[in-house]
């Protein structure tokens, strides 16, 4: 199973090297990757339908509890099939849609990276690895939204989407760690068994809120929905694949996955119903005011995502079955509509629904696909949408005292979703063909076949719901914690309330479609309320934050090294001094334990003291530098006396180099002593003296503490035995703490590169200015 997940990543890396072979006619071959995966996952259906869970475990970082554990149950299987199945069609479609594009190989690289990440996300049984894949989907989505990187709007949308979904990822990590701490394991399937103790734990509320945060940002729930319409700047295959069929459903997946672990409590259900309800209604109303086909589809996608969250919130057997069916329904018709929109955009050059009409005459197969998808989204019998909508009404009607409110909400949303489906799937094809579009022709079959396949599939599954009932829907319902569901999908339930409601939805929907026409005027009308839209609020927040940080940076990063140093020392003195004095009544200094000073120590101290006086009183920089060097060498001597020859040697070399460096830059430094006045000097003096006192106090206090020799003894005892060295310091450096040293020399390298590039860049600029 690992290789199935990695295939996407491997193919993406492969494209880095072999990309140019896949740009031309061979591009369509890359759709073989998702096709193979699709068939692979299809082969698991019989096993999973029997209730088996297929597992594969690989150790990765066992010490952190981070393992690559994969589990394939009904829920994972449904998502895997969506990811690979729609992925296959989208890959093929892209070959024609972006034919001849310079970066087609790059596009496929991102797309297959995304596919791998998404598969990893839905198959992970380990929360931490799930988080990693979750982040990978956000990152690949960022690249895909910003694919047209010459357009500023694209780049902005990409950053916005990354910011929102990325902060959601952060919440997921926090939630995962909290959950892992409470449950004592990161394995999701083990958590299901621990559900009771997790729900009763003190951090339950936090866990739920964090998981909600992650799911709501990813699945574009109100008030985080605004990144999704922006993400429509991406090429249409991306919108189809990521922002309608798969990635945005990751949040839904997360909620479904955790329903058996965290669900069943009031906070869980009420929040989901409220947020989902608001989202679906708000977004559905918005579709009325859009004229861009993709905008209409984006808002109707958000509405459906809201509906799914809402259904998970209801949490009954009906509702969860409805959610499972609706995921399939939505993937089938919404992907079709997006692909159709892509074709229209590709062939006519516009997505403005007020200008499009009569296209059925020039692209008949596309019109069929759009028509079928629109009917499915409307929930017309015998489409699969009808089955889904029936279940939604069934589940809201069973909600007791709230049944009426919830049902009305669901009906209103469905009416508006129908409207959106009709606007996107039917409106462009009806009416008379404008003169300007008479030369429009049908694109290559690679483009029109995928939407037709999906649309026809929607019809077939609607007529024979048994096709998805046993193999797909039941295992999902089992996976979210309901055993032995008695509920079976049927197209025809007889004449009952639900049928009446369906008819009502259809009737009002048709009426709405014929009465309300999308227009620019209405779009402008709603734009007046933009000042309270979440998007504007976030942008304003972002802008003021930037202003604030600019101001803050100017205060602290003012470019004067001396200010940096004094700030650092000041804070150190205040913070350390505070903790030093607040913990104790006094500092225990045991003077009796000190060894007597020898005369040569006194001489060295004297030299140091004199040198320091020289530094402070120096009139020229050179004197000060040389005197500092003297202090350094005196410290070396102290090290030698206290038998730390390694330290002494290093200090000695460093001091030499420091002096050399100083001498090198001396000539280009400004004149000495003119920089600070009397007052500054006094402040600096107080600061440095108090810093010195603080360090001395700390040193004395450390001496007062009983010394724990365990560590140093371990090193001393084992240096020769384990590492065959006699110089303990060096053995620690190269053997026991070798990884530390490796990191340190890496840091050194980075620092050198920094110095090099900073100075060299400035040199080059100087050269340029000289030339000018």
């Amino acid at each position: 199973m690992l290789s199935a997940i990695l295939l996407g990543f491997i193919f993406s890396i492969f494209l880095v090297f072999a990309g140019k072979f896949f740009k031309g006619k061979l591009a369509v071959l890359s759709s073989l990757v998702p096709l193979v995966l699709f068939l692979y996952f299809l082969s698991f259906i019989p096993q999973v339908a029997n209730g088996e869970v297929i597992r594969a475990n690989y150790e990765w970082v066992p010490s952190l509890g981070l393992n690559l554990d994969f589990a394939l149950d009904g829920l994972s299987l449904l998502f895997s099939l969506l990811i690979t199945g729609i992925g296959f069609l989208v890959f093929a479609y892209t070959a024609a849609y972006l034919k001849g594009h310079d970066y087609l190989d790059r596009f496929y690289g991102y797309l297959s990276m995304f596919m791998g990440a998404m598969l990893g996300l839905v198959l992970s049984d380990n929360l931490l690895s799930m988080f990693i894949f979750w982040e990978l989907t956000s990152i690949s989505s960022f690249f895909l939204i910003g694919f047209n990187n010459t357009s500023e709007a694209s780049r902005k949308s990409a950053v916005l989407a990354l910011a929102i979904t990325g902060s959601g990822g952060f919440l997921l990590l926090a939630g995962a760690l909290l959950l892992g701490g409470v449950a004592g394991t990161y394995s999701i399937s083990e958590m299901v068994g621990l559900s009771d103790s997790i729900i009763q734990s003190e951090s339950y509320l936090w866990i739920v809120l964090l998981i909600f945060g992650a799911a709501f940002t990813k699945s574009a729930q109100f008030p985080f929905h605004f990144w999704l319409p922006g993400a429509m700047k991406a090429p249409t295959p991306v919108s189809t694949y990521l922002h309608s069929a798969t990635m945005v459903k990751a949040g839904i997946y997360l909620l479904l996955r955790f329903t058996p672990v965290l669900g069943g409590e009031d906070i869980w259900n009420t929040t989901l119903i409220t947020v989902g309800g608001i989202t679906m209604f708000y977004a559905a109303v918005h579709t009325l005011f859009r004229t861009d086909l993709k905008g209409v589809l984006a808002y109707s996608t958000i509405a459906v995502l809201g509906l799914l969250v809402f259904l998970i919130g209801l949490g009954t057997e009906y509702a969860l079955t409805a959610a499972a069916v609706y995921i399939i329904v939505h993937a089938l018709y919404k992907a079709t509509l997006f692909l159709v929109t892509g074709i229209i955009d590709h062939e006519t050059g516009t997505r403005d629904v007020t200008r499009l009409a009569g296209l059925r005459k020039v692209m008949f197969p596309v019109a069929i696909a759009g028509f079928l998808a629109a009917l499915s989204s409307a929930g017309m019998p015998p489409f699969v949408g009808f089955v889904g909508k029936d279940l939604v009404y069934e589940s809201t009607l069973h909600m007791g005292s709230w049944a009426i409110v919830l049902t009305v909400l669901a009906i209103a949303t469905n009416i508006l979703v129908l409207y959106a489906g009709f606007v996107a799937g039917i409106k462009p094809f009806t009416g008379t063909l404008p003169e300007s579009f008479s030369k429009v022709h049908l694109p290559s079959f690679l483009m029109w076949l995928p939407p037709v396949i999906l649309a026809v599939l929607g019809l077939i599954v609607g007529i024979f719901p048994g096709l998805i009932d046993g193999p797909l829907v039941q295992p999902v319902v089992n996976a979210v914690g309901i055993d032995d569901s008695e509920l079976h999908l049927k197209l025809w339930h007889g004449f009952n309330t639900v049928l009446g409601l369906s008819a009502l939805t259809l009737g009002v929907g048709f009426l709405l479609y014929f009465l309300v026409k999308p227009s620019k005027a209405k779009e402008k009308g709603v734009a007046r309320f933009d000042f309270i839209a979440p998007l504007t609020l976030v942008n304003n927040f972002g802008n003021s934050f930037r202003t604030f940080s600019n101001w803050w940076t100017r205060i602290f990063q003012n470019g004067f090294l001396r200010n940096y140093v004094s700030t650092i020392i000041l804070f150190l003195v205040v913070l350390v001094g505070y903790s030093l004095f607040s913990d104790h009544d006094g500092i225990p200094i045991d003077f009796s334990s000190f060894s007597r000073m020898t005369y040569y120590e006194m001489i060295i101290m004297g030299i140091m003291f004199l040198a320091i006086l020289f530094v402070v009183g120096a009139r020229s920089r050179l004197t000060a530098v040389v005197a500092m060097g003297v202090v350094g060498y005196a410290i070396c001597l102290m090290f030698v006396i206290y038998s730390a020859p390694d330290l002494a040697m290093t200090q000695f070399s460093i001091d030499t180099l420091t002096v050399i460096l100083f001498v090198l830059v001396l000539s280009s430094l400004p004149k000495y002593l003119s920089i600070s006045d009397y007052k500054m000097k006094a402040i600096d003096g107080v600061l440095s003296v108090s810093f010195g006192i603080l360090i001395t106090l700390i040193a004395l206090e450390v001496l007062g503490e009983p010394v724990n020799k365990e560590v140093s003894n371990f090193y001393a005892d084992n240096a020769y035995v384990m590492a065959k060295g006699k110089n303990v310091v060096n053995v620690i450096l190269v053997d026991f703490r070798g990884v530390d040293t490796l990191m340190e020399i890496s840091v050194l390298t980075i620092a050198a590169i920094g110095v090099f590039s900073l100075l060299k860049l400035r040199l080059k600029r100087d050269d340029r200015e000289l030339k000018d």
Binding site: D646, G725, L733
Partner: protein, 125 residues
């Protein structure tokens, strides 16, 4: 002066496992040698003497250190940074082991870093 200091730095590097010394100090001493040379004969001469840019020493050293760190995984199937030792005692060097190569890497990196920084700064002033 230069050859003497260089030999001394290598000596410090090699004896590091038993007596005070090691890659870090060795690298510093070697760089002092080159810096003194640059002071005496001018930077251009020193650059000619080294022939290549000292910056190349940094990745080289990092690679050497890293390889010596992973070599136990590759050759002996032991965890990262386990010391590997050549069983026989060699003249001058003493026991040969992966830790020595690690130290050589440190030596090269320190030399590269110091020289890069000092050369860059002295060129820019």
């Amino acid at each position: 002066m230069l050859p003497l200091l260089l030999v001394f730095s290598v000596f410090i590097l090699l004896r590091g496992h038993y007596l005070p010394g090691g890659g870090f100090v060795g690298g510093l001493i070697a760089s002092i040698a080159f810096v003194l040379h640059a002071f005496a004969n001018g930077l251009g001469d020193t650059r000619q003497l080294i022939r290549f840019h000292p910056g190349f020493l940094m990745p080289t050293g990092l690679t050497v250190s890293f390889l010596s760190g992973v070599s136990p995984i590759i050759f002996a199937g032991k965890p990262l940074m386990t010391g590997l030792w050549y069983p026989h005692h060699l003249p001058i060097v003493g026991n040969l082991g992966s830790a020595l190569f690690f130290d050589i890497g440190v030596y090269l990196v320190v030399l590269g870093v110091t020289l890069t920084i000092i050369f860059t700064i002295s060129e820019s002033v």
